[in-house]
Protein backbone atom coordinates (compact mmCIF):
# COMPACT_ATOMS: atom_id res chain seq x y z
CA UNK A 1 0.00 0.00 0.00
CA UNK A 2 2.84 2.36 0.83
CA UNK A 3 4.05 2.19 -2.77
CA UNK A 4 0.69 3.56 -3.88
CA UNK A 5 0.79 6.72 -1.77
CA UNK A 6 4.45 7.68 -1.83
CA UNK A 7 4.15 10.19 -4.67
CA UNK A 8 4.48 13.96 -4.45
CA UNK A 9 2.16 15.99 -6.66
CA UNK A 10 2.93 19.44 -8.06
CA UNK A 11 1.62 21.04 -4.87
CA UNK A 12 4.03 18.97 -2.77
CA UNK A 13 1.31 16.97 -1.02
CA UNK A 14 1.52 13.19 -0.98
CA UNK A 15 -0.93 11.70 -3.46
CA UNK A 16 -2.12 8.26 -4.37
CA UNK A 17 -0.29 6.68 -7.31
CA UNK A 18 -3.44 5.08 -8.71
CA UNK A 19 -4.58 7.99 -10.95
CA UNK A 20 -1.10 8.19 -12.49
CA UNK A 21 -1.08 4.48 -13.24
CA UNK A 22 -4.56 4.52 -14.76
CA UNK A 23 -3.65 7.69 -16.66
CA UNK A 24 -0.55 6.05 -18.13
CA UNK A 25 -2.61 3.10 -19.25
CA UNK A 26 -5.19 5.37 -20.89
CA UNK A 27 -2.46 7.32 -22.65
CA UNK A 28 -0.99 4.05 -23.93
CA UNK A 29 -4.41 3.11 -25.33
CA UNK A 30 -4.62 6.47 -27.11
CA UNK A 31 -1.05 6.18 -28.43
CA UNK A 32 -1.52 2.59 -29.58
CA UNK A 33 -2.72 3.31 -33.16
CA UNK A 34 0.16 5.71 -33.74
CA UNK A 35 2.71 3.23 -32.46
CA UNK A 36 1.16 0.76 -34.90
CA UNK A 37 1.42 3.38 -37.68
CA UNK A 38 5.10 3.97 -36.90
CA UNK A 39 5.86 0.27 -37.10
CA UNK A 40 3.70 -0.35 -40.21
CA UNK A 41 5.18 2.52 -42.22
CA UNK A 42 7.76 1.37 -44.82
CA UNK A 43 10.35 3.98 -43.83
CA UNK A 44 12.88 2.68 -46.40
CA UNK A 45 10.34 3.11 -49.17
CA UNK A 46 8.62 6.30 -48.02
CA UNK A 47 6.92 7.93 -51.01
CA UNK A 48 3.75 9.78 -51.91
CA UNK A 49 1.00 8.79 -54.32
CA UNK A 50 0.15 11.06 -57.26
CA UNK A 51 -2.07 13.92 -56.10
CA UNK A 52 -1.00 13.77 -52.48
CA UNK A 53 0.71 17.17 -52.60
CA UNK A 54 -2.40 18.76 -54.10
CA UNK A 55 -4.55 17.36 -51.31
CA UNK A 56 -2.22 18.86 -48.70
CA UNK A 57 -2.57 22.30 -50.29
CA UNK A 58 -6.36 21.89 -50.50
CA UNK A 59 -6.68 20.81 -46.86
CA UNK A 60 -4.42 23.54 -45.47
CA UNK A 61 -5.67 26.42 -47.60
CA UNK A 62 -9.40 25.78 -47.44
CA UNK A 63 -9.36 24.79 -43.76
CA UNK A 64 -7.82 28.16 -42.94
CA UNK A 65 -10.59 29.90 -44.91
CA UNK A 66 -13.25 27.79 -43.15
CA UNK A 67 -11.71 28.60 -39.80
CA UNK A 68 -11.85 32.33 -40.48
CA UNK A 69 -15.49 32.08 -41.50
CA UNK A 70 -16.29 29.99 -38.43
CA UNK A 71 -14.71 32.60 -36.12
CA UNK A 72 -16.41 35.45 -37.97
CA UNK A 73 -19.89 33.90 -37.85
CA UNK A 74 -19.59 31.87 -34.66
CA UNK A 75 -18.22 34.53 -32.31
CA UNK A 76 -21.23 36.89 -32.41
CA UNK A 77 -23.61 33.95 -31.95
CA UNK A 78 -21.58 32.59 -29.04
CA UNK A 79 -21.52 36.05 -27.47
CA UNK A 80 -25.23 36.48 -27.88
CA UNK A 81 -25.97 33.07 -26.35
CA UNK A 82 -23.64 33.79 -23.44
CA UNK A 83 -25.00 37.23 -22.63
CA UNK A 84 -28.74 37.13 -23.29
CA UNK A 85 -31.43 35.12 -21.65
CA UNK A 86 -34.94 35.01 -22.99
CA UNK A 87 -37.91 32.68 -23.13
CA UNK A 88 -37.48 29.87 -25.60
CA UNK A 89 -33.68 30.07 -25.62
CA UNK A 90 -33.65 26.28 -25.32
CA UNK A 91 -34.87 26.12 -28.93
CA UNK A 92 -31.65 27.77 -30.11
CA UNK A 93 -29.64 25.46 -27.90
CA UNK A 94 -31.49 22.49 -29.36
CA UNK A 95 -30.66 23.65 -32.89
CA UNK A 96 -26.95 23.78 -32.06
CA UNK A 97 -27.21 20.40 -30.38
CA UNK A 98 -28.91 19.08 -33.50
CA UNK A 99 -25.98 20.24 -35.61
CA UNK A 100 -23.56 18.51 -33.22
CA UNK A 101 -25.64 15.36 -33.15
CA UNK A 102 -26.20 14.82 -36.88
CA UNK A 103 -23.89 12.08 -38.23
CA UNK A 104 -21.46 13.70 -40.72
CA UNK A 105 -22.67 11.54 -43.60
CA UNK A 106 -26.26 12.59 -42.92
CA UNK A 107 -25.19 16.23 -42.66
CA UNK A 108 -23.53 15.89 -46.07
CA UNK A 109 -26.77 14.58 -47.52
CA UNK A 110 -28.79 17.40 -45.89
CA UNK A 111 -26.36 20.01 -47.23
CA UNK A 112 -26.58 18.51 -50.71
CA UNK A 113 -30.35 18.63 -50.43
CA UNK A 114 -30.20 22.33 -49.57
CA UNK A 115 -27.20 23.57 -51.56
CA UNK A 116 -27.06 20.97 -54.35
CA UNK A 117 -27.94 21.95 -57.92
CA UNK A 118 -31.56 20.88 -57.42
CA UNK A 119 -31.86 22.24 -53.89
CA UNK A 120 -33.80 25.43 -53.08
CA UNK A 121 -30.70 27.49 -52.29
CA UNK A 122 -28.36 25.63 -54.65
CA UNK A 123 -30.48 26.26 -57.74
CA UNK A 124 -30.58 29.99 -56.96
CA UNK A 125 -26.82 30.10 -56.44
CA UNK A 126 -26.16 28.13 -59.61
CA UNK A 127 -27.84 30.93 -61.56
CA UNK A 128 -25.28 33.38 -60.14
CA UNK A 129 -22.47 31.02 -61.13
CA UNK A 130 -21.66 29.62 -57.68
CA UNK A 131 -21.51 25.82 -57.59
CA UNK A 132 -21.93 24.43 -54.10
CA UNK A 133 -21.13 20.82 -54.89
CA UNK A 134 -17.70 19.45 -55.79
CA UNK A 135 -16.11 22.89 -55.78
CA UNK A 136 -13.81 24.92 -53.57
CA UNK A 137 -16.74 26.83 -52.00
CA UNK A 138 -18.50 23.48 -51.39
CA UNK A 139 -15.39 22.15 -49.64
CA UNK A 140 -15.24 25.21 -47.38
CA UNK A 141 -18.99 24.96 -46.76
CA UNK A 142 -18.67 21.31 -45.69
CA UNK A 143 -15.89 22.11 -43.22
CA UNK A 144 -17.80 25.15 -41.98
CA UNK A 145 -20.82 23.02 -41.10
CA UNK A 146 -18.68 20.30 -39.59
CA UNK A 147 -16.78 22.54 -37.16
CA UNK A 148 -18.97 25.60 -36.47
CA UNK A 149 -21.15 24.11 -33.71
CA UNK A 150 -18.08 22.97 -31.76
CA UNK A 151 -16.61 26.45 -31.93
CA UNK A 152 -19.89 28.06 -30.84
CA UNK A 153 -20.15 25.78 -27.79
CA UNK A 154 -16.54 26.46 -26.74
CA UNK A 155 -16.68 30.20 -27.41
CA UNK A 156 -19.95 30.55 -25.53
CA UNK A 157 -18.39 28.91 -22.47
CA UNK A 158 -15.41 31.26 -22.84
CA UNK A 159 -17.64 34.35 -22.87
CA UNK A 160 -19.74 33.04 -19.99
CA UNK A 161 -16.52 32.89 -17.97
CA UNK A 162 -15.99 36.66 -18.30
CA UNK A 163 -17.39 38.36 -15.19
CA UNK A 164 -20.23 40.63 -16.25
CA UNK A 165 -19.23 43.08 -13.57
CA UNK A 166 -16.01 43.86 -15.47
CA UNK A 167 -18.01 44.68 -18.59
CA UNK A 168 -20.30 46.89 -16.51
CA UNK A 169 -17.32 48.69 -15.00
CA UNK A 170 -15.98 49.35 -18.50
CA UNK A 171 -19.31 51.01 -19.35
CA UNK A 172 -19.17 53.20 -16.24
CA UNK A 173 -15.66 54.21 -17.32
CA UNK A 174 -17.13 55.71 -20.46
CA UNK A 175 -16.60 52.89 -22.97
CA UNK A 176 -19.29 51.94 -25.47
CA UNK A 177 -20.58 48.35 -25.50
CA UNK A 178 -18.54 47.75 -28.68
CA UNK A 179 -15.33 49.06 -27.06
CA UNK A 180 -16.10 47.05 -23.95
CA UNK A 181 -16.35 43.90 -26.07
CA UNK A 182 -12.93 44.48 -27.65
CA UNK A 183 -11.14 45.81 -24.57
CA UNK A 184 -12.57 43.56 -21.87
CA UNK A 185 -14.65 40.62 -23.08
CA UNK A 186 -12.33 39.45 -25.87
CA UNK A 187 -9.06 39.65 -23.92
CA UNK A 188 -10.58 37.89 -20.92
CA UNK A 189 -12.16 35.18 -23.08
CA UNK A 190 -9.06 34.71 -25.21
CA UNK A 191 -7.86 31.49 -23.63
CA UNK A 192 -11.23 29.81 -24.03
CA UNK A 193 -11.57 31.22 -27.55
CA UNK A 194 -8.13 29.83 -28.42
CA UNK A 195 -9.26 26.40 -27.23
CA UNK A 196 -12.43 26.81 -29.35
CA UNK A 197 -10.41 27.73 -32.45
CA UNK A 198 -8.11 24.73 -31.90
CA UNK A 199 -11.13 22.46 -31.61
CA UNK A 200 -12.73 23.95 -34.74
CA UNK A 201 -9.51 23.47 -36.70
CA UNK A 202 -9.25 19.82 -35.68
CA UNK A 203 -12.87 19.25 -36.70
CA UNK A 204 -12.54 21.14 -39.99
CA UNK A 205 -9.25 19.73 -41.24
CA UNK A 206 -10.24 16.15 -40.40
CA UNK A 207 -13.80 16.40 -41.74
CA UNK A 208 -14.59 13.40 -43.94
CA UNK A 209 -18.26 12.49 -43.92
CA UNK A 210 -19.73 15.83 -45.01
CA UNK A 211 -16.90 16.47 -47.48
CA UNK A 212 -17.30 13.02 -49.02
CA UNK A 213 -20.91 13.79 -49.98
CA UNK A 214 -20.80 17.51 -50.72
CA UNK A 215 -17.26 18.09 -52.00
CA UNK A 216 -15.55 14.86 -53.10
CA UNK A 217 -13.59 17.22 -55.33
CA UNK A 218 -11.31 19.09 -54.69
CA UNK A 219 -9.84 16.26 -52.65
CA UNK A 220 -8.50 17.25 -49.25
CA UNK A 221 -6.32 14.89 -47.21
CA UNK A 222 -9.12 12.88 -45.50
CA UNK A 223 -10.82 12.08 -48.83
CA UNK A 224 -7.46 11.46 -50.54
CA UNK A 225 -6.62 8.92 -47.80
CA UNK A 226 -9.84 7.10 -48.71
CA UNK A 227 -9.04 7.31 -52.42
CA UNK A 228 -5.46 6.03 -51.86
CA UNK A 229 -6.81 3.11 -49.84
CA UNK A 230 -9.30 2.22 -52.56
CA UNK A 231 -6.98 2.68 -55.53
CA UNK A 232 -3.55 1.65 -54.23
CA UNK A 233 -3.77 0.10 -50.76
CA UNK A 234 -2.57 0.64 -47.22
CA UNK A 235 0.98 1.48 -48.23
CA UNK A 236 -0.30 4.67 -49.90
CA UNK A 237 -2.21 5.73 -46.80
CA UNK A 238 0.62 5.90 -44.27
CA UNK A 239 2.92 8.55 -45.87
CA UNK A 240 0.00 10.93 -46.46
CA UNK A 241 -1.20 10.35 -42.89
CA UNK A 242 2.22 11.40 -41.55
CA UNK A 243 2.05 14.59 -43.56
CA UNK A 244 -1.49 15.19 -42.34
CA UNK A 245 -0.28 15.10 -38.74
CA UNK A 246 2.60 17.38 -39.62
CA UNK A 247 0.45 20.10 -41.17
CA UNK A 248 -2.64 19.77 -38.94
CA UNK A 249 -0.90 19.54 -35.57
CA UNK A 250 0.94 22.88 -35.03
CA UNK A 251 -2.09 25.21 -34.82
CA UNK A 252 -4.13 23.28 -32.22
CA UNK A 253 -0.99 22.34 -30.30
CA UNK A 254 0.14 25.93 -29.94
CA UNK A 255 -3.38 27.23 -29.21
CA UNK A 256 -3.97 24.40 -26.74
CA UNK A 257 -0.75 25.16 -24.89
CA UNK A 258 -1.57 28.87 -24.93
CA UNK A 259 -5.01 28.21 -23.48
CA UNK A 260 -3.39 26.36 -20.60
CA UNK A 261 -0.73 29.05 -20.25
CA UNK A 262 2.07 26.57 -21.01
CA UNK A 263 5.07 26.94 -23.27
CA UNK A 264 6.25 24.47 -25.88
CA UNK A 265 9.79 24.45 -24.46
Amino acid sequence: MSALVDVQAADGLPRSRTPALVGALTLLLIAGPFIALASATHWSNFHFAPGDMGSIAVSLGYSLISLMLIVAFGTPLAWWLARHSFRGKWVLEAIILLALLTPPLAMGILLTTLYGPYGPLGSLLTQTGVELTNSAPAFVLAQFYGALPYYVVAARAAFEGVPRELEHIALTLGKSPWQTFWLVSMPLARLGLAAGIALAWVRAVGEFGIVLILAYYPQGIPVKLWVNLQDIGLSAVYPLLWVFFLVAMPLPLILGLASRRQRLF
Binding site: H168, L171, T172, L173, G174, K175, L183, L188
Partner: protein, 344 residues
Protein backbone atom coordinates in the same frame (compact mmCIF):
# COMPACT_ATOMS: atom_id res chain seq x y z
CA UNK B 1 -26.09 66.49 -4.17
CA UNK B 2 -29.61 65.15 -3.88
CA UNK B 3 -30.23 61.50 -4.78
CA UNK B 4 -33.82 60.77 -5.74
CA UNK B 5 -34.36 57.35 -7.29
CA UNK B 6 -37.14 54.86 -7.70
CA UNK B 7 -36.55 51.30 -8.85
CA UNK B 8 -39.09 48.58 -9.68
CA UNK B 9 -36.87 45.64 -10.38
CA UNK B 10 -35.17 43.48 -8.99
CA UNK B 11 -36.39 45.08 -5.74
CA UNK B 12 -38.93 47.83 -5.31
CA UNK B 13 -37.15 50.83 -3.89
CA UNK B 14 -37.82 54.51 -3.42
CA UNK B 15 -35.15 56.70 -1.88
CA UNK B 16 -34.53 60.38 -1.50
CA UNK B 17 -31.58 61.70 0.45
CA UNK B 18 -28.69 64.13 0.48
CA UNK B 19 -25.07 63.25 -0.35
CA UNK B 20 -22.53 65.60 1.17
CA UNK B 21 -18.81 64.88 1.33
CA UNK B 22 -18.37 61.24 2.26
CA UNK B 23 -21.86 59.91 2.89
CA UNK B 24 -22.61 56.47 4.26
CA UNK B 25 -25.88 54.76 3.46
CA UNK B 26 -26.35 52.16 6.17
CA UNK B 27 -28.71 49.24 5.73
CA UNK B 28 -28.92 45.53 6.27
CA UNK B 29 -28.04 43.03 3.55
CA UNK B 30 -30.96 42.61 1.20
CA UNK B 31 -32.22 46.18 1.56
CA UNK B 32 -31.25 46.87 -2.05
CA UNK B 33 -28.22 49.06 -1.42
CA UNK B 34 -26.16 47.56 -4.24
CA UNK B 35 -29.21 47.77 -6.49
CA UNK B 36 -29.43 51.50 -5.75
CA UNK B 37 -25.75 52.08 -6.63
CA UNK B 38 -26.11 50.12 -9.86
CA UNK B 39 -29.20 52.13 -10.73
CA UNK B 40 -27.37 55.43 -10.17
CA UNK B 41 -24.53 54.10 -12.36
CA UNK B 42 -27.11 53.29 -15.05
CA UNK B 43 -26.51 49.54 -14.93
CA UNK B 44 -30.16 48.68 -14.34
CA UNK B 45 -33.41 50.36 -15.30
CA UNK B 46 -34.60 53.04 -12.88
CA UNK B 47 -36.07 56.53 -12.81
CA UNK B 48 -34.45 59.36 -10.92
CA UNK B 49 -32.02 62.18 -10.60
CA UNK B 50 -29.13 62.81 -11.06
CA UNK B 51 -28.17 61.25 -14.42
CA UNK B 52 -31.73 60.02 -15.10
CA UNK B 53 -32.20 58.54 -18.57
CA UNK B 54 -28.51 58.56 -19.55
CA UNK B 55 -26.64 55.48 -20.76
CA UNK B 56 -24.06 54.21 -18.24
CA UNK B 57 -21.16 55.32 -20.45
CA UNK B 58 -22.51 58.88 -20.40
CA UNK B 59 -22.95 59.17 -16.63
CA UNK B 60 -20.22 61.02 -14.76
CA UNK B 61 -20.02 58.53 -11.90
CA UNK B 62 -17.13 56.55 -10.54
CA UNK B 63 -18.38 53.16 -9.42
CA UNK B 64 -16.31 50.99 -7.06
CA UNK B 65 -18.14 47.69 -6.67
CA UNK B 66 -17.53 45.26 -3.86
CA UNK B 67 -14.23 43.53 -4.59
CA UNK B 68 -13.27 46.53 -6.79
CA UNK B 69 -13.47 44.68 -10.13
CA UNK B 70 -10.05 45.62 -11.46
CA UNK B 71 -9.36 44.26 -14.95
CA UNK B 72 -7.17 41.21 -14.26
CA UNK B 73 -5.50 41.35 -17.69
CA UNK B 74 -4.27 44.92 -17.24
CA UNK B 75 -1.46 46.29 -15.05
CA UNK B 76 -2.30 48.78 -12.31
CA UNK B 77 -1.50 51.80 -14.49
CA UNK B 78 -3.39 50.32 -17.46
CA UNK B 79 -6.41 49.88 -15.23
CA UNK B 80 -6.22 53.55 -14.28
CA UNK B 81 -5.64 54.55 -17.92
CA UNK B 82 -8.66 52.54 -19.08
CA UNK B 83 -11.03 55.48 -18.92
CA UNK B 84 -8.54 58.05 -20.24
CA UNK B 85 -8.65 59.18 -23.86
CA UNK B 86 -6.03 57.68 -26.19
CA UNK B 87 -2.90 59.74 -26.67
CA UNK B 88 0.68 60.21 -25.67
CA UNK B 89 -0.27 61.70 -22.30
CA UNK B 90 -2.25 58.63 -21.28
CA UNK B 91 0.45 56.82 -19.33
CA UNK B 92 1.70 60.00 -17.68
CA UNK B 93 -1.82 60.92 -16.56
CA UNK B 94 -2.40 57.42 -15.18
CA UNK B 95 0.86 57.53 -13.23
CA UNK B 96 -0.07 60.94 -11.87
CA UNK B 97 -3.37 59.57 -10.58
CA UNK B 98 -1.57 56.59 -9.07
CA UNK B 99 0.81 59.00 -7.37
CA UNK B 100 -2.14 60.78 -5.79
CA UNK B 101 -3.19 57.54 -4.13
CA UNK B 102 0.48 56.73 -3.27
CA UNK B 103 0.72 53.73 -5.57
CA UNK B 104 3.28 54.64 -8.25
CA UNK B 105 5.52 51.84 -6.97
CA UNK B 106 3.07 49.16 -8.04
CA UNK B 107 2.13 50.72 -11.40
CA UNK B 108 3.51 47.74 -13.32
CA UNK B 109 1.87 45.10 -11.10
CA UNK B 110 -1.17 43.10 -12.09
CA UNK B 111 -4.17 43.30 -9.72
CA UNK B 112 -3.57 39.76 -8.43
CA UNK B 113 -0.28 40.97 -6.93
CA UNK B 114 -1.91 43.84 -4.99
CA UNK B 115 -3.35 43.81 -1.47
CA UNK B 116 -7.03 44.57 -0.85
CA UNK B 117 -6.28 48.14 0.20
CA UNK B 118 -4.05 48.71 -2.84
CA UNK B 119 -6.68 47.31 -5.19
CA UNK B 120 -9.21 49.66 -3.67
CA UNK B 121 -6.99 52.67 -4.28
CA UNK B 122 -6.24 51.59 -7.85
CA UNK B 123 -10.00 51.29 -8.38
CA UNK B 124 -10.41 54.76 -6.89
CA UNK B 125 -7.74 56.20 -9.19
CA UNK B 126 -9.39 54.44 -12.16
CA UNK B 127 -12.77 55.90 -11.23
CA UNK B 128 -11.28 59.37 -10.78
CA UNK B 129 -9.65 59.23 -14.22
CA UNK B 130 -12.95 59.88 -15.94
CA UNK B 131 -13.58 62.98 -13.80
CA UNK B 132 -16.82 61.87 -12.13
CA UNK B 133 -19.25 64.17 -10.32
CA UNK B 134 -20.13 61.46 -7.83
CA UNK B 135 -18.32 58.41 -6.47
CA UNK B 136 -20.27 55.27 -5.62
CA UNK B 137 -18.70 52.72 -3.27
CA UNK B 138 -20.22 49.34 -2.49
CA UNK B 139 -19.23 47.99 0.95
CA UNK B 140 -15.82 49.71 0.81
CA UNK B 141 -14.63 48.09 4.05
CA UNK B 142 -15.73 44.52 3.40
CA UNK B 143 -12.58 43.25 1.67
CA UNK B 144 -10.20 44.88 4.14
CA UNK B 145 -8.81 43.01 7.11
CA UNK B 146 -9.91 44.13 10.52
CA UNK B 147 -6.45 45.22 11.65
CA UNK B 148 -5.98 47.87 8.95
CA UNK B 149 -9.60 48.62 8.06
CA UNK B 150 -9.99 51.88 9.99
CA UNK B 151 -6.67 53.19 8.76
CA UNK B 152 -7.32 52.30 5.12
CA UNK B 153 -10.83 53.75 5.25
CA UNK B 154 -9.66 56.96 6.95
CA UNK B 155 -7.03 57.35 4.25
CA UNK B 156 -9.57 56.67 1.49
CA UNK B 157 -11.94 59.25 2.94
CA UNK B 158 -9.24 61.88 3.30
CA UNK B 159 -8.19 61.21 -0.32
CA UNK B 160 -11.77 61.77 -1.43
CA UNK B 161 -11.90 65.01 0.54
CA UNK B 162 -8.74 66.09 -1.25
CA UNK B 163 -10.34 65.42 -4.62
CA UNK B 164 -13.36 67.40 -3.45
CA UNK B 165 -15.81 64.84 -4.74
CA UNK B 166 -19.07 63.81 -3.14
CA UNK B 167 -19.06 60.08 -2.45
CA UNK B 168 -21.86 57.72 -1.57
CA UNK B 169 -20.79 54.51 0.18
CA UNK B 170 -23.31 51.82 1.03
CA UNK B 171 -22.51 49.49 3.89
CA UNK B 172 -23.95 47.37 6.65
CA UNK B 173 -20.91 48.16 8.79
CA UNK B 174 -21.90 50.63 11.54
CA UNK B 175 -18.21 51.19 12.17
CA UNK B 176 -18.00 53.27 9.00
CA UNK B 177 -20.73 55.64 10.11
CA UNK B 178 -18.45 57.34 12.62
CA UNK B 179 -15.90 58.13 9.87
CA UNK B 180 -18.39 59.71 7.46
CA UNK B 181 -19.47 63.31 6.95
CA UNK B 182 -23.09 62.29 6.68
CA UNK B 183 -25.14 59.20 7.41
CA UNK B 184 -28.39 58.01 5.87
CA UNK B 185 -30.10 54.92 7.23
CA UNK B 186 -32.16 52.63 5.07
CA UNK B 187 -34.73 50.28 6.54
CA UNK B 188 -37.73 48.64 4.94
CA UNK B 189 -36.63 49.79 1.47
CA UNK B 190 -36.68 53.51 2.28
CA UNK B 191 -34.60 56.14 4.05
CA UNK B 192 -35.65 56.35 7.70
CA UNK B 193 -33.09 58.81 9.04
CA UNK B 194 -30.29 61.05 7.80
CA UNK B 195 -27.94 63.60 9.29
CA UNK B 196 -24.44 64.00 10.64
CA UNK B 197 -22.95 60.91 12.31
CA UNK B 198 -23.06 62.67 15.70
CA UNK B 199 -26.79 63.44 15.36
CA UNK B 200 -27.76 60.03 14.05
CA UNK B 201 -25.59 58.03 16.44
CA UNK B 202 -26.81 60.00 19.47
CA UNK B 203 -30.50 60.01 18.52
CA UNK B 204 -31.46 56.99 16.42
CA UNK B 205 -34.97 57.52 15.08
CA UNK B 206 -36.10 54.00 15.93
CA UNK B 207 -34.94 50.79 17.55
CA UNK B 208 -34.29 49.40 14.03
CA UNK B 209 -31.95 52.31 13.28
CA UNK B 210 -30.25 51.86 16.64
CA UNK B 211 -29.65 48.21 15.82
CA UNK B 212 -28.20 49.12 12.38
CA UNK B 213 -25.91 51.62 14.05
CA UNK B 214 -24.51 48.81 16.14
CA UNK B 215 -26.03 49.80 19.48
CA UNK B 216 -26.02 46.81 21.79
CA UNK B 217 -28.03 47.85 24.86
CA UNK B 218 -31.50 47.53 23.29
CA UNK B 219 -34.27 46.28 25.55
CA UNK B 220 -38.04 46.22 25.91
CA UNK B 221 -40.05 47.65 28.81
CA UNK B 222 -43.57 48.79 29.62
CA UNK B 223 -44.66 52.36 30.32
CA UNK B 224 -45.50 52.57 34.03
CA UNK B 225 -46.75 56.17 33.95
CA UNK B 226 -45.91 59.82 33.47
CA UNK B 227 -45.08 62.12 36.38
CA UNK B 228 -46.14 65.77 36.41
CA UNK B 229 -42.54 66.65 37.16
CA UNK B 230 -41.65 65.82 33.55
CA UNK B 231 -40.50 62.28 34.04
CA UNK B 232 -41.63 59.12 32.29
CA UNK B 233 -41.48 55.87 34.24
CA UNK B 234 -40.73 52.52 32.60
CA UNK B 235 -41.07 49.12 34.16
CA UNK B 236 -38.20 46.84 33.07
CA UNK B 237 -39.87 43.50 33.58
CA UNK B 238 -36.91 41.41 32.48
CA UNK B 239 -34.94 42.76 35.46
CA UNK B 240 -37.30 42.09 38.37
CA UNK B 241 -39.63 44.92 37.38
CA UNK B 242 -37.00 47.62 37.95
CA UNK B 243 -38.38 51.12 37.49
CA UNK B 244 -36.53 53.41 35.10
CA UNK B 245 -36.90 57.20 35.06
CA UNK B 246 -36.25 59.16 31.90
CA UNK B 247 -37.11 62.65 30.61
CA UNK B 248 -40.76 62.93 29.61
CA UNK B 249 -41.67 61.08 26.43
CA UNK B 250 -44.73 62.40 24.62
CA UNK B 251 -47.22 60.11 22.95
CA UNK B 252 -46.71 57.13 25.25
CA UNK B 253 -49.61 55.66 27.17
CA UNK B 254 -49.36 53.77 30.44
CA UNK B 255 -49.09 50.02 29.85
CA UNK B 256 -47.66 50.48 26.34
CA UNK B 257 -44.73 48.26 25.30
CA UNK B 258 -41.61 50.26 24.34
CA UNK B 259 -38.08 49.59 23.14
CA UNK B 260 -35.39 51.53 24.92
CA UNK B 261 -31.69 51.93 24.61
CA UNK B 262 -28.75 53.25 26.54
CA UNK B 263 -25.21 53.81 25.25
CA UNK B 264 -22.61 51.75 27.17
CA UNK B 265 -20.89 55.02 28.13
CA UNK B 266 -24.09 56.23 29.84
CA UNK B 267 -24.09 53.19 32.13
CA UNK B 268 -22.14 54.60 35.08
CA UNK B 269 -20.19 52.84 37.77
CA UNK B 270 -20.32 54.43 41.25
CA UNK B 271 -17.77 57.27 41.23
CA UNK B 272 -14.52 57.17 43.18
CA UNK B 273 -15.69 59.85 45.63
CA UNK B 274 -17.80 57.77 47.93
CA UNK B 275 -19.91 60.69 49.20
CA UNK B 276 -21.92 60.97 45.96
CA UNK B 277 -24.74 58.53 46.38
CA UNK B 278 -27.45 59.84 44.13
CA UNK B 279 -28.36 57.51 41.26
CA UNK B 280 -30.93 58.14 38.51
CA UNK B 281 -31.68 54.49 37.86
CA UNK B 282 -29.77 52.02 40.00
CA UNK B 283 -29.58 48.56 38.44
CA UNK B 284 -27.80 45.58 39.97
CA UNK B 285 -26.04 42.89 38.01
CA UNK B 286 -23.28 40.32 37.99
CA UNK B 287 -20.15 40.70 35.81
CA UNK B 288 -20.39 38.13 33.04
CA UNK B 289 -17.36 39.04 30.92
CA UNK B 290 -15.08 41.98 30.25
CA UNK B 291 -13.06 43.19 27.29
CA UNK B 292 -9.84 45.08 27.92
CA UNK B 293 -9.54 47.86 25.31
CA UNK B 294 -6.51 49.52 26.88
CA UNK B 295 -7.68 52.75 28.50
CA UNK B 296 -11.25 51.45 28.61
CA UNK B 297 -13.03 48.26 29.54
CA UNK B 298 -16.23 46.93 28.04
CA UNK B 299 -18.03 45.00 30.76
CA UNK B 300 -21.05 42.75 30.25
CA UNK B 301 -23.40 42.64 33.24
CA UNK B 302 -26.06 39.97 33.67
CA UNK B 303 -29.16 41.82 34.95
CA UNK B 304 -32.15 39.52 35.36
CA UNK B 305 -32.49 37.82 31.98
CA UNK B 306 -30.78 40.63 30.05
CA UNK B 307 -27.17 41.48 29.29
CA UNK B 308 -26.22 45.12 29.89
CA UNK B 309 -22.97 46.50 28.47
CA UNK B 310 -21.05 49.28 30.10
CA UNK B 311 -17.96 51.11 29.02
CA UNK B 312 -15.76 52.60 31.72
CA UNK B 313 -12.20 53.85 32.26
CA UNK B 314 -9.78 51.12 33.31
CA UNK B 315 -8.91 52.70 36.65
CA UNK B 316 -12.59 52.77 37.68
CA UNK B 317 -13.08 49.16 36.63
CA UNK B 318 -10.03 48.12 38.66
CA UNK B 319 -11.14 50.24 41.64
CA UNK B 320 -14.44 48.34 41.78
CA UNK B 321 -12.66 45.03 41.27
CA UNK B 322 -14.96 44.04 38.41
CA UNK B 323 -13.87 40.43 38.03
CA UNK B 324 -16.17 37.86 36.50
CA UNK B 325 -18.93 36.93 38.96
CA UNK B 326 -18.71 40.15 40.96
CA UNK B 327 -22.03 41.84 41.92
CA UNK B 328 -22.31 45.61 41.30
CA UNK B 329 -24.95 48.30 41.20
CA UNK B 330 -24.65 50.70 38.27
CA UNK B 331 -26.57 53.83 37.33
CA UNK B 332 -28.40 54.21 34.02
CA UNK B 333 -28.09 57.92 33.35
CA UNK B 334 -31.57 59.38 32.67
CA UNK B 335 -30.38 61.65 29.86
CA UNK B 336 -28.76 58.70 28.10
CA UNK B 337 -31.99 56.69 27.91
CA UNK B 338 -33.81 56.69 24.58
CA UNK B 339 -37.13 55.06 24.01
CA UNK B 340 -39.52 54.32 21.14
CA UNK B 341 -42.92 52.64 20.83
CA UNK B 342 -42.41 48.91 20.27
CA UNK B 343 -42.56 47.78 16.63
CA UNK B 344 -42.89 44.22 15.40
Amino acid sequence: MRIDYSIDHPVRLEVNFEVEGFTILLGQSGEGKTTLLRAIAGLLPAQGEPFGGLLPQHRAVGYLPQGYALFPHLRAWENVAFGLPRGRQRRAQALELLARVQLVDVAEHYPSALSGGQQQRVALARALARKPQLLLLDEPSSALDAATRDEVMAELISEMHEFGLPALAVSHDPHLAALADRVAVMSGRSIVQQGTPAEVLARPASAAVARLLGHRNLFTARVAGQKISGITLLRWEAVNGTTLRLPQQSGLAAGQLVQWMIAPTAVRLPSLESDQHHMDNPVSGRVESRLNLGAHFQVALRCGTERLWLSAPSNLVRHHGLETGREITVDLHSDGLLCWPHQG
